[in-house]
Symmetry: C2
Subunit: 333 residues, 2 copies
């Protein structure tokens, strides 16, 4: 295992210290319990957005804390959900009385722990709701999931609902918007290589030199099938096809497309996939209105990518364009 | 070779198409000759900053085109300098009469081709100057270089001089500022794995499973020595030590530190190096005033990182903080 780390058991903790150093202008990092809040939290009168999940997907979610996006993020151990305690502590730290919305990727551990935290928050008088993200069309159930997995679409949802909360939308409105965004987006990914969880020390799965995993999950979970490595045009079709089939959107619908790197993929390759995916989106009669290309939801050093398509309307397009100031996504602030 | 590409010979061209799709709000991409200019180029009365070099280092340089940074960037083939023709074409496209400053990393091919382009531009009546970037302390001469190599420090120089040009500084002032910034920054990198140039199809060098290259160049050129993989604290010391020794800055000097990923390194590992490097910088009596952590100057999918330290003063700190709107670096716009 070749990693720039000290103790494999301390990777999340050591990285959080460096994250605090690098982004002290935007966020505050709390240690024991570990969570990240925006520098000006709690914001009076504002619905607080809280997300989290296993570490190893950076910048997801800690990199999206800041004005116009998340109020807090709770990082668990690598690929492992945070427990209810730090989630509850984060919710308390950012709640200003307008309520807390948990944004939770659909994994069994995350769902359970955020649900428990929501119940405990309710007991403390905090109106805590949850929006589930389950955008991955690859498989119905998976290693850590009942139902569809939540993957890179979480970034888009956090940005759009974050902008709504920032402009003063109510908890009801933010929750409804989150559910609407989730219902209108789908993702699918491919892995060219596996990744290695530091405290495990060996790759999560094995891929031959000419093999790829189509429909891979964000932790390297099996997807639809193993296949031989193919060209970017063919791979883009393997990802975009199922996404568009599942969305079944009317021609002319404006879309936001995220081409997401899994951590170990050069930007040039993501741009190549972007161009191939654009052709497919436009060939399906949809209008590519916005795009985002880069490492936004990763699986450690995995080589591969995912494509997310979100059907936009005027409101969600405006919210996407709204100013944001987080470590990983910044515009207009 | 596992890459998300179509034809290995078309990687740069295909990626440029995707880059144009993804960032149409910020830049315009010209094809044949290939160069990228900011969307509002040429900007009347403004000194134009032009950089470029071999592709494969993205976001360097095309990702830094936009308000407050570069006016144009010229991408060559992977790890190969662009020829004078596209450099000259880019200079002509962005010159508004206030002159053009070429920002050139110190590699023999880049120096020669930008020099020729500058001479041709002068013949066309454009006042074209050059600032060389040679921040890499690892080795004095190298595979493609006489003198020190230019590496990730180029990002800092382009940002700071870009802000100066944006506020209306003259060509003389921008050139002098560029030389001042270059003289006040040093970098050093380490590779955990090699990278594969697409049209070559095999790794540029070989590293054993437990081996690293200390002082590696941005194309995988040899550095100071091969060593056994060590912990992040020890590796950070291997990088920061020579950088600080060479800078020989008085105690109390404020610094900007860039912890740069080479392309295949998870963000969490860069943050761990950031924290270790911070300890060393502060132990040396310097004041960590600003930091930047992420993949800013890469070598395709190489795993590894570099650390750059720039000695700040009030003016360069203000210019660093100034608004910028590029695909890869954005703040306040």
């Amino acid at each position: 295992m070749k990693k720039l780390i000290n103790d494999p058991a301390q990777v999340v903790s050591d990285a959080l210290d460096g994250f605090a150093t690098a982004h002290a202008d935007l966020v505050k990092v709390n240690r024991r319990p570990d969570y990240v809040v925006r520098a000006d939290a709690p914001v009076a009168g504002k619905v607080a957005l809280v997300s989290g999940g296993g570490s190893g997907h950076e910048p997801l979610h800690i990199g999206y804390v800041g004005r116009g996006m998340l109020d807090a993020a709770v990082p668990g151990p690598v690929f492992t959900s945070p427990t209810p305690d730090p989630i509850l502590a984060a919710a308390k730290a950012v709640d200003s009385g307008a309520g807390v919305l948990f944004i939770v990727k659909n994994y069994t551990g995350d769902v359970l722990n955020f649900e428990t935290a929501a119940e405990l928050a309710q007991l403390d008088g905090i109106d805590a709701r949850t929006v589930l993200v389950d955008d991955d069309v690859a498989v119905q159930d998976s290693t850590f999931t009942a139902g569809r997995r939540g993957v890179a679409g979480a970034v888009l949802l956090e940005k759009i609902v974050g902008a709504a909360a920032e402009r003063g939308d109510s908890l009801d409105a933010c929750q409804a918007l989150g559910e609407r965004v989730n219902a209108r987006m789908r993702s699918m990914g491919v892995a060219l290589t596996a990744c290695t969880v530091p405290h495990v020390g060996r790759p999560s799965f094995e891929l031959a030199d000419d093999e790829i995993e189509i429909g891979v999950g964000l932790h390297g979970e099996p997807g639809r099938r193993r296949a031989k490595l193919a060209g970017a045009a063919e791979l883009a079709a393997e990802l975009v096809g199922p996404v568009l089939d599942d969305l079944a959107a009317p021609a002319g619908t404006p879309v936001l497309m995220l081409v997401n790197g899994m951590g170990g993929t050069p930007q040039s390759e993501l741009y190549i996939i972007c161009q191939e995916a654009r052709r497919l989106v436009e060939a399906a009669g949809l209008q590519l209105a916005r795009s985002l290309v880069g490492d936004y939801a990763t699986a450690l050093e995995m080589q591969g990518c995912s494509v997310t398509v979100l059907l936009l309307d005027d409101e969600t397009a405006d919210l996407w364009d709204a100013p944001v100031a987080t470590p990983a996504l910044r515009r207009g602030l």
